[in-house]
């Protein structure tokens, strides 16, 4: 909490000026409320003969109809107003917080009932209600007014708090806290409430404003006691005396001005409240693929020597170093090897043959990026990038989080938003080729579409997109240069149909095109990407992730552009869908002949699919070359490290001793000490299968109402409102063994994880711990959580951004203190929770001194996942369930995390269940594999047998969805330059199946 205070203090210092004005004004009124009545020169109620006197030295603000001193009344009247405002503000906020939290967090009926109550109060007309109620409180003191205000005012805030709580309840860090064993009250207090605080703070100010205005209004219409002096009461008497018609402005203006100023102060303070306690960007952290946000100046903990270690080979701090957009670590790699100034030297890493030579033919240039530098404010995000795209070429740009790849895409497509801006460089787009030069167009494109291309000729000079004026740019967009943005969920307009979004692009560029032909063309492109034309009428939310991505690709093809830029087109998709989408793009590329710029973090994918691969690191292109060359002999150490870091089916982690050694070096400073050797083995005797499973699922089934199972739409064909997400799943986990549970999205594997972690209870079937069924009492749940712990997929979401890394681990230690009491040799007897937490952090390869007091926002993705693993370890579980533990992380840190899990399993003798859609990861880590499809287990057995020789179609599909550079020549149409025979027969068969199925893709999702 002191961190929070620090943050607040820091932000208060940078408060916007209006807010400062507001605070000062409010302070003035508070002082006025306290001392005002004492300063009044006269008794505010005392009448004099000077009736309705204009301001004079005797009466600075004049007098009323009965000769009372206006100034004295103003001075005396502030107290009641402020008292009512403050009291009602505090009470309303408190009631709103309690009711809102309860309504949002309580399950089932009680939550519903509370929210219905709030809704009832919301539709009651506030002011009439206040008036009617006040009339019952005839002799009401200010306290009565406060009560009335609270009664009518709480619902508004409660509703907002409830909405916030509802969304928080679904956040991963709440799930993680539950899985860790926290009680509901504690979760509400420590996990949820800090996130509701901004709403409450702003709600308090709003309630106070409401109370002040309401009190004044009531007093003004003569309710709530006209005998007590307040500004509203003054206006009541003024109104009754027709002060305005006799021109006694001095009677009306001062009290009103005070009310207005007080209201203004509160509004201004509210702006300030947002600035101080509002949500932070650094708190949310950044995800792979998103533009890097800057975790304010956190120095990379690794020293220079460590920084030179190839990322990914050391599961310690070096590769996970806090992402740093200025690229200190990256620069040390680049500079260490290219000695000195970055820009010119980078060019030396480019292959002499240059881009476009990948297929052996010299391609005419289509897009040339020259010395492009983009800055985010003052921080450079892309630095001196040179890149060339030939006509019909596939250029891949590989880069990890923070490498600037999205910024590069936005710069090329002129979509940068402030504060990002191009600082230097050009993006030349060469004119459209003559009709003869153009690769054959698709038949679809030639269906009588009027083209606007008549004004473009081959002999025109190239245009610089960076400098192009708005009108020419708009004409050129989509016509020549289309883009597929990452995050298909948000790239489609949620309230327009697919058709509307396709047609408007057509009609913007072909004003003469009628509606019917436009719709026809829209249907054509949809079918081109393998979607049924009935989806023209669909909205984005009705489509699955893969289908949305296809719609976006279809949209890009509408006008048959020369170049399609794809920004992480597959990041949000599971491997099977990824594969399908990429295949689709390549097929269309071959059919239609547009050039492709494919930007992704997935180097393997590029090696398989692209002609030319460029590796982007810290805003610079460190290597460019034909994909095959880059794969065979990477010229830049960073590329080599990336290639080495890929978790591929070919190498088992066991055969990667480097990883372990590197971890040891990193954590302990000496390679002689393995990181976990010192720790005692909890399960002294390695248990074989004969010892019986530590955790067994027996016929687990779980069904959901249809609307809660968005991804499994494929199973709805049979009708009915219930989806069986998990259907009779049985599996066994043995101590010391790693089991991989694999399956595509919607196969039910995550539901199995939730059932095994007891986040949900099965409809049918049992979970057995050490052969005994788990009970349902609180004590049984705690005992269960001690035995079975869960690591969630997304470390950017599973840690509460307001708590430190140390807090997360220490809380789990406190909860499971019993696990540490006896017989532990890892920590000294009677060690504090803090000390144990530090030991745990060390065990996962972190430096406690560095990370303990850091909030997740200041940690990299890999570091966060290590913290999450340490938290799970705090219970000293017999079973660790890891639900896609690396899928959200950069490729270079994945191997490190998997190595940590593997080492912990071996050292602690835990059973590890690794849930993944990544066959390579499963292959590299697991002893046994369980394959799920459509809620059922379809195949299980030893890893090598199941994955090496898959017998079920679902397994084959998963195996074949893996990117495989060795396969590239066969998938690139026509140019069959070897590689095909290297493939196992099964995958060739499966790919044939793919070819068949591309037209009916929806059946998969």
């Amino acid at each position: 909490m002191s961190r929070l205070a620090d943050m607040v203090r820091r932000r208060v210092r940078t408060l916007p000026i209006p807010a400062v004005v507001g605070v000062v004004l409010l302070g003035f009124f508070v002082v006025l409320g306290v001392v005002g009545p004492l300063l009044a020169p006269d008794d505010p109620s005392a009448t004099t003969a000077a009736v309705l006197a204009a301001p004079s030295w005797r009466h600075l603000l004049g007098t009323t109809q009965t000769g009372q001193d206006v100034l004295s009344q103003v001075l005396a009247g502030g107290r009641i107003t402020l008292l009512v405002g403050a009291a009602a503000g505090v009470l309303t906020t408190a009631v709103a917080a309690i009711m809102g939290l309860a309504a949002g967090y309580l399950p089932g009926l009680s939550g519903e009932a509370l929210s219905s109550l709030a809704n009832l109060f919301l539709v009651l007309p506030v002011l009439p209600l206040v008036i009617v109620m006040s009339s019952y409180l005839q002799s009401a003191s200010w306290l009565g007014v406060v009560v009335v205000i609270v009664v009518v005012g709480w619902a508004t805030g409660a509703r907002v708090v409830r909405a916030q709580t509802l969304s928080l309840r679904r956040r991963d860090f709440v799930t993680a806290a539950r899985a860790s064993g926290e009680r509901s009250v504690r979760i509400l207090w420590a996990e949820v409430l800090p996130h509701v605080m901004p709403v409450l703070a702003s709600g308090f100010v709003t309630s106070m404003l409401f109370a002040v205005v309401t009190q004044a209004s009531l007093a003004f219409i003569g309710l709530g006691g006209v005998a007590q002096w307040s500004w509203g009461t003054m206006l009541y008497w003024a109104q009754n005396a027709d002060a305005f018609s006799v021109g006694a402005w001095w009677w009306i203006v001062p009290p009103g001005a005070c009310l207005a100023l007080l209201g203004t102060a509160l509004v201004l303070v509210n702006f300030g409240v947002d600035a101080v306690v509002g949500p932070t960007r650094s708190g949310a952290g950044h995800r792979p693929g998103a533009p890097a946000s800057v975790p304010g100046g956190v120095p990379a903990p690794a020293g220079g020597a460590v920084a030179l270690l190839p990322p990914g080979l050391a599961p310690g701090l070096a590769p996970d170093a806090a992402p740093n957009p200025t690229g200190t670590m990256a620069v040390s790699v680049a500079r260490g090897l290219s000695s000195g100034t970055a820009l010119p030297q980078v060019a030396s890493w480019h292959r002499s043959s240059g881009p476009g030579t990948g297929t052996g033919s010299v391609r005419a240039p289509l897009l040339q990026v020259r010395g492009l530098t983009v800055v985010h404010g003052t921080v450079p995000a892309v630095r001196g990038v040179d890149l060339q795209v030939g006509r019909g070429e596939v250029v891949g740009i590989a880069g990890e989080t923070g490498s600037g790849k999205s910024t590069l895409v936005h710069a090329i497509t002129r979509l940068l938003r402030p504060p990002a801006a191009v600082a230097a460089g050009q993006v030349w787009l060469h004119p459209r080729a003559g009709i003869g030069d153009r690769p054959e167009r698709s038949s679809a494109a030639a269906t009588g579409m009027p083209t606007a291309a008549g004004n473009v000729h081959a002999d025109e000079p190239p245009v610089d997109l960076v400098a192009l004026d708005a009108v020419s740019l708009r004409r050129l967009r989509w016509e020549r240069l289309a883009v597929v943005l990452q995050g298909a969920l948000h790239a489609l307009n949620p309230v327009l149909t697919v058709q509307a979004q396709l047609v408007d692009a057509l009609r913007a560029h072909r004003p003469g095109l009628g509606r019917a032909p436009a719709v026809r063309r829209a249907a054509e492109v949809l079918e081109l990407v393998g979607l049924d034309r009935r989806h023209l009428r669909s909205y984005a939310h009705e489509l699955s992730g893969g289908m949305r991505q296809r719609v976006l690709i279809a949209m890009a093809l509408l006008l048959s552009p020369d170049l399609v830029v794809l920004d992480e087109p597959t990041t949000a998709l599971d491997t099977v869908t990824q594969r399908a989408v990429v295949d689709e793009v390549l097929r269309l590329h071959h059919e239609i002949g547009f050039a492709v710029v494919l930007v992704t973090h997935d180097l393997s994918l590029l090696l398989e699919t692209a002609d030319t691969v460029a590796v982007l690191h810290a805003g610079q292109i460190v290597e460019v070359g034909p994909a095959a060359d880059v794969h065979r002999c990477p010229a830049h150490p960073y590329t080599a490290a990336l290639l080495a870091a890929r978790v591929t089916a070919a190498k088992r982690l066991a055969s990667l001793p480097v990883a372990h050694t590197a971890a040891a070096t990193d954590v302990h400073g000496t390679a002689a000490t393995p990181p976990l050797a010192a720790s005692a083995r909890r399960h002294a005797t390695p248990m074989g299968a004969a010892a019986g499973p530590v955790l067994a699922a027996d016929g687990l089934s779980k069904a959901y109402r249809q609307r809660t199972a968005p991804r499994v739409a494929g199973h709805l064909g049979g009708g009915g409102h219930v989806v069986r997400a998990v259907d009779g799943v049985s599996l066994e986990l043995h101590a010391g063994q790693a089991t991989a549970l694999v399956g595509a999205s919607g196969s039910g594997k995550s539901t199995v994880a939730r059932l095994l972690a007891r986040l949900e209870l099965p409809d049918d079937g049992r979970v057995l711990v050490d052969g005994r069924p788990a009970g349902r009492t609180r004590a049984a749940t705690i005992a269960y959580r001690r035995a079975v712990q869960l690591v969630l997929q997304d470390p950017y979401a599973s840690l509460n951004p307001v708590h430190t890394a140390g807090y997360h681990v220490r809380r789990a230690v406190v909860l499971h203190r019993g696990a540490w009491s006896a017989g532990s040799t890892e920590v000294a007897p009677g060690a504090s929770a803090d000390e144990i937490a530090r030991v745990l952090l060390t065990q996962v390869g972190l430096q406690p001194d560095v990370v303990f007091d850091r909030q997740p926002g200041a940690l990299s993705g890999g570091q966060r996942q290590r913290v999450a693993i340490a938290r799970a370890l705090a219970a000293r579980p017999a079973v660790l369930i890891a639900d896609e533990p690396v899928s959200m992380l950069d490729v270079s840190v994945r191997a490190g995390i998997l190595a940590v899990l593997d080492a912990l399993r071996a050292e602690h003798g835990m059973a590890l269940l690794h849930i993944t859609h990544d066959i390579a990861a499963a292959w590299s880590t697991a002893d046994t594999v369980v394959v799920m499809d459509a809620g059922r287990v379809v195949e299980a057995g030893p890893t090598d047998r199941v994955l090496g020789n898959p017998s079920h179609r679902a397994t084959q599909r998963l195996v074949n969805a893996q990117p495989d550079p060795a396969r590239r020549r066969t998938s690139a149409a026509g140019t069959g330059a070897g590689g095909a025979d290297a493939e196992p027969a099964t995958s060739a068969a499966a790919r044939a199946e793919w070819g068949m199925e591309t037209t009916t893709m929806e059946s998969y999702r």
């Binding site: 219905s116 909405a163 709600g203 004044a216 003004f220 408007d504 109402r705 968005p710």
Partner: protein, 364 residues
């Protein structure tokens, strides 16, 4: 109008939140099933509104019965000898002191009277019935506040779009300015406006809804006079509420302009106007539209304070008179009418929302 201002207080974090109460609907299917989802959503909300209405009527029934002392006696005293036996019975019903009837029986009788449109007799406007008083004052409020609300919504929303689009220019200064305007108590704004434009400059009349020399109806002198009388109160309402709409729209618009689908619309080369209106504003305006529907419900309640300041013969003024005169039957009636209107408007907001936002049908 106070309610309007305070309900959507100008904060950046507390954006209007509409929470559909768990509408169920199929995720898949053609337009037919989708429409089904929307209908189900609205039907569910209608059920909720009905429940709320029953609760409100019950509250209305109970309030007088919870009053301390003997309100009936004071009401009868106030009427003096004018009360007929029928009136006394009505009052006895209202206060629940009718002999020989338990609370349940009274409740049933209360409903029966309501369903017959019988809201009792007003004491302030004796011997007019409550329904007659309401029927007479309602059109004034609906016209004045309704027109002002729609004007304010249109102006504020349009300015909000501009404010978001022109972010970083001088236009930014407009935003806090309108916000400050909204924080000024507008009964005071009304008083100042009256002092300047009516009492001082004599541009507009001081009070009332129309000139006493005209007869109410569709005749030219009356319409001119009514408009003349409505300008100041309407301007007061618009001035103090336009900032709320502006701020809401601007915040939503700024958020929506940063969304990918807007970026993509720009990348598609659509004209700026279409990007701005069909993409950015189209999604951003949804909360404002919902708020408008709700605000229109509050129109029926009139703008109590504005009507009091301008002595405007609307329903807010009637309520004020009822309260000052302890006219319980009238208070009950007005309160009920307002509640019904607000509920109806809420339902309308839901229906409009279901039409405008296809996602609602499957929200959970």
């Amino acid at each position: 109008m106070l309610d309007l201002v305070l309900r959507s207080a100008p904060t950046a974090t507390a954006r209007p939140v509409r929470l559909p109460l768990g509408a169920s609907g199929p995720r898949w299917g053609g337009a037919g099933r989708r429409r089904g989802g929307r209908v189900r959503f609205v039907a569910r909300r209608a059920g909720l509104s009905a429940a709320t209405l029953v609760a409100a009527v019950t509250l209305d029934f109970l309030l007088p019965r919870m009053m301390p002392g003997n309100p009936l006696a004071s009401e009868l005293l106030r009427l003096g000898g004018r009360a007929s036996p029928g009136t006394i019975r009505v009052l006895q019903n209202a206060f629940g002191v009718h002999a020989g009837q338990g609370l349940a029986g009274q409740y049933v009788a209360f409903w029966a009277q309501l369903l017959h449109g019988n809201l009792g007799v007003s004491i302030t406007y004796f011997p007019s019935s409550v329904s007659a008083v309401i029927a007479q004052s309602l059109p004034w409020s609906v016209c004045l506040v309704g027109v002002a609300t729609v004007l304010s919504f249109g102006l504020g929303t349009a300015l909000g779009v501009v404010a978001a689009w022109r972010r970083g220019t001088w236009f930014d200064a407009v935003v806090p300015a309108t916000g400050l305007l909204a924080s000024v108590p507008y009964f005071w704004t009304g008083l100042v406006v009256l002092t300047v434009f009516a009492a001082g400059l004599h541009w507009f009349p001081l009070s009332g809804g129309s000139s006493a020399t005209t007869t109410v109806g569709w005749n030219w002198p009356f319409v001119v006079s009514a408009v003349d009388h409505a300008v100041l109160p309407a301007a007061t309402i618009v001035a103090s509420s336009v900032g709320i709409w502006l701020l809401g729209m601007r915040n939503m618009m700024v958020a929506s302009m940063a969304e990918d689908h807007v970026l993509l619309a720009e990348a598609k080369g659509l004209p700026t106007r279409r990007v701005l209106l069909a993409y950015a504003a189209r999604t951003a305006v949804l909360p404002n539209v919902a708020s408008l529907a709700v605000s229109l419900g509050f129109v029926v309640g009139g703008a109590v304070l504005t009507e009091i300041v301008f002595s405007y013969p609307g329903i807010g003024f009637v309520l004020f008179n009822a309260v000052s005169n302890d006219d319980l039957p009238l208070m009950q009636g007005v309160f009920l009418v307002i509640t019904v209107a607000v509920l109806a408007a809420n339902l309308m907001a839901d229906a409009v929302y279901a039409v405008l936002d296809p996602r609602i049908a499957q929200a959970s």
